[in-house]
């Protein structure tokens, strides 16, 4: 029998129906694809191969050995320059060592990071995620990976809510043009699912995001950061005004909508409505989708937020509030199901929980460990990644719905150990 091509294998996996098929059926197939991807990365990514050499993992390794060569997510922020736009050659040389297919491109130094990303987007789609340090993780996605990523997000979204969302109007409290992953991917997914999409902001440049997240090191940077802070607040209040206008329009028309926004934006929106004593009950099966983590005002719990959603927009949770957990490095999002609110891991990703010594934990019952994943959809960079999140997975699956596969029950950041290493705590201060 002829072996399926990688593309057809991945396409076979990437279907919403597969969320209802027993995991045991998929596991050998998925593992075979992961092994093929290992050989692919080994052959093409210099960094991945070097790690394999150190760990004594050969090109013909078995699946049980691959956890040894998973890369930490920090790899994607290990580029040798603070300002990629000023030193493009250095940055591209780094990128080429990570990527599975080197870029043959020469880019002149640019005045802004955004223009550097724009220039590069003719060759590779470089999306980024920001931490609190202003040092972005850059993930290079080629055309194939971009396609798999959008398809993966879309199929899982439809699987989690239902086919009816294909007819809905998406209102996205996001910028239209951006390389920020958390803003870019929802727009692509909404366009793929329904095509009827309203995007509320025009553009947020990478330079603004950097200035907002990077701790200022000198007076001029401080001034710039505070100015951008003021502008950011203006932008946020404009965004909420636009969101109000669009939501009101939908309510008046009785149109079913999917409203997507980060939790802080949705929280601010609901708060504003409630302060004004106003309620905009979203029609029919409308859904609010949030992502990007639960980062709200001090003292506000997730329950408080959900109560506000219900009071301000008539959205009960979990039935009509979907929250997603994902990361820039991963081509899948783990959506909470509308039946029980558990975050489902789609069958095209193999999750792994690691203990303190980075050994895999058993895949049964309920386990808590460092979250890692084998993502075979990553074609242009190694997709076997260890995250900085401590996650509880219930391998028995969701108790509230009929979808198969493990679910994520809780997520927190891995804490550095206080009091052990004097300097390590300082590392945290320095944002490493």
């Amino acid at each position: 029998m002829q072996q399926l091509t990688l593309t057809s294998s991945l396409n076979y996996l990437l279907k919403k129906e597969n969320l209802w098929r027993p995991r045991e059926k998929f596991e050998p197939f998925l593992e075979e694809i992961i092994l093929r991807m290992h050989r692919f990365y080994y052959e093409r990514s210099a960094i991945y191969r070097r790690v394999c050499e150190i760990e004594n993992v050969s090109e013909r390794a078995k699946i049980d050995d691959l956890f040894k060569v998973m890369l930490v997510d920090k790899i994607f922020k290990s580029y040798p320059t603070e300002y990629p736009e000023k030193e493009p050659e250095k940055f591209l040389s780094w990128l080429n060592k990570i990527m599975t297919k080197p870029l043959k491109v020469r880019i002149e130094p640019q005045k802004s990071l955004q223009s550097f990303l724009d220039k590069l987007s003719g060759y590779i789609w470089l999306s980024y995620s920001s931490g609190t340090t202003g040092r972005f993780s850059f993930i290079p996605r080629d055309e194939k990976t971009v396609e798999y990523c959008i398809k993966s997000y879309s199929e899982a979204a439809v699987a989690i809510s239902g086919d009816y969302v294909r007819k809905m109007h998406f209102i996205l409290a996001l910028p239209k043009k951006t390389h920020l992953f958390i803003s870019w991917i929802p727009k692509e997914v909404a366009e793929r699912i329904s095509g009827k999409v309203t995007i509320l902001l025009n553009q947020v440049s990478a330079d603004i995001v950097r200035a907002r997240t990077k701790p200022p090191t000198c007076f001029s940077e401080k001034m710039k950061a505070s100015l951008i802070g003021v502008l950011g607040n203006i932008m946020k209040s404009q965004l909420i005004k636009k969101l109000y206008r669009e939501v009101k329009k939908a309510v008046e028309k009785g149109e079913e909508v999917i409203v997507f926004g980060s939790m802080p934006v949705m929280y601010a929106f609901c708060k504003k409505l409630l302060e004004r004593g106003e309620r905009l009950e979203l029609p029919g099966r409308s859904i609010v989708v949030t992502g990007g983590g639960f980062k709200l005002e001090k003292g506000v719990s997730l329950e408080d937020f959900r109560r506000m959603l219900n009071e301000a927009l008539g959205i009960p949770a979990p039935e009509r509030h979907v929250d997603g957990y994902g990361m820039c490095e991963c081509n899948a999002l783990f959506y909470s199901c509308v039946e029980g609110g558990e975050k489902h891991i789609p069958p095209w990703i193999k999750p792994v929980l690691l203990d303190e010594e980075l050994n895999p934990l058993p895949e049964h019952g309920r386990q808590t460990g460092r979250f890692a994943f084998f993502d075979p959809l990553a074609q242009s960079y190694p997709g076997f990644i260890i995250t900085g999140d401590k996650v509880t997975i219930n391998w028995n699956g969701c108790s509230k719905c009929s979808r198969e596969g493990p679910v994520i029950e809780s997520i927190e950041r891995v804490k550095s150990e206080e009091g052990r290493g004097c300097a390590l705590v300082l590392g945290k201060v320095l944002g490493e």
Binding site: A46, I47, R50, V51, I54, E55, L71, V72, K74, I75, S78, Y79, P80, K90, S93, W94, K97, I98, E356, E357, L358, N359, I386, E418, G419, R420, G421, C422, A423, L424, V425, L426, G427, K428, V429, L430, E432
Partner: protein, 513 residues
Amino acid sequence: MLKGYFLPKELQDSFDTIIREVSGFEIEYLKLKEGDAEKISKFLKEERRKALSEVGISEKTMRTADKLAELWSNSNYTKRKIALEVLPELTGYPSKMIEVLSFSTLIKVRGNYLKVLKSPSVGKEVFKKFTEIPGLNVRIKGYGSFFEKIKFAKSLSSLPEVELILHICPGNIPGLVESYVMLLSLLLNAAAIIKPPTRQPVFAALFAESLSEVDGDLANLVAVVNWSRGDVIENEFYSHIDVVNVVGGEEAVRSVKEKVEEFRQKGRNIRGCYHGAKFGIEIVAKEYALPEVAELVAFDIIGYEQEMCSSPREVRVEEGGKLSPREFAEKIAEAMNWLSRIFPQSEKYRAKAKPMILKLIAEGEASDKIEVFVVNKGQGAVAYDEEKIGIFEPIYSYRVIKVKPVKNILDVSKIIKPYKEFMQTAGVAVPEARIIELAEALAQSGIVNIRVAGSVPIPEPGESWDGKLPGLEFLFDSNIQWVTVASKNLDESIKQNIEFLAELKKLNFSSSN
């Protein structure tokens, strides 16, 4: 079953206990309730008062320190054996590391040293130049304003009395802080409450039991007690102590500072001594850019998995020596290979090192100016970096480090200056003829301890503790910054350390044969 607490004999049956499992060991802890902290504190103070009226606590402590040192030097001593069996499991450090580093340091705390601490013969010259401390292998110099110097002299002439000191101990250097602060408190005629680290609550209790074997009266002035931050008894202890000395990470220090402030506002006159997070650096002069010195540096890197405040975060090698800085980096990695056979890195620490090694590999793959040498089985890595020469990168740990060239060792002072607030130790391989000029320069950038390469993880009696004089800081405030060079002759000390490491190397070969 192991004990995670110690109480004077009379109190031993007065409190409830609870057994918890830590890393596979059953450990018995005190289960204190409201009123218990007061009971313990009052007992210790009363015993102290009695001891002071009957015998001199200070003098007895000096004699006892010698006996304790003898006990813990004896490889057949039961408590030492227990510690060597338990601590590796609890800390993740190999047993040999605890033996070679922790035990060899704690047995240095002897009567003659404590005597010097109690009555330092500090003349005016100590503020002008590095001055030898008689009887110890240390030179010291104090930096401060004229006013601070007068204030210091005045405080020294009339030392205040302290009844009870609370010591909060860190988990990164098993045994050292617990034993040291216990003896320091007694030396100052004060009773001591020791709060051991959560991860390793055993050593403080073992050492207090040793103290009890040697001198029951002194042991009546010591309690080893554990509690969680925020427990009711925490406030009770703070209501009775005069001084709190915290050694640990930023969070622990910040929390104690807040607590001290809270009690001071309530009118309690508590003093806080804070030993928080710090960085170290290793500096190699061109005269010592030699293979055998690279081995000393490797030893310093491996010590306590770089978790000590003094551990080097970066190595600077002066250009123009027999080995180039790049060659020196390679030699460090080679030495780490054989040292890792004597001090194998536990899986737990290997897992912590892995992200840092991967980060270095990614940097190295992307730049022709960075070369990475990975140690055996991923037990650390050394990166030679010619790219980021102008900056100090104190972010690596767990046997992972960068080596960078420097034109002149004096330039290091400028490079580390942005981190002045956090700097503590420089491990040096520098000729005696150049050390004072370097020490003066480094003092301007926050370095307060200068140790000889190859003995960075082994503190020397007489050294300053984060710029303070050990013990005296518990008695009065002073802004004098004390800088010490832990050698009277650098060339001689380097030679000795090379010989010490050669002996250790034999151990490697005998164990591998």
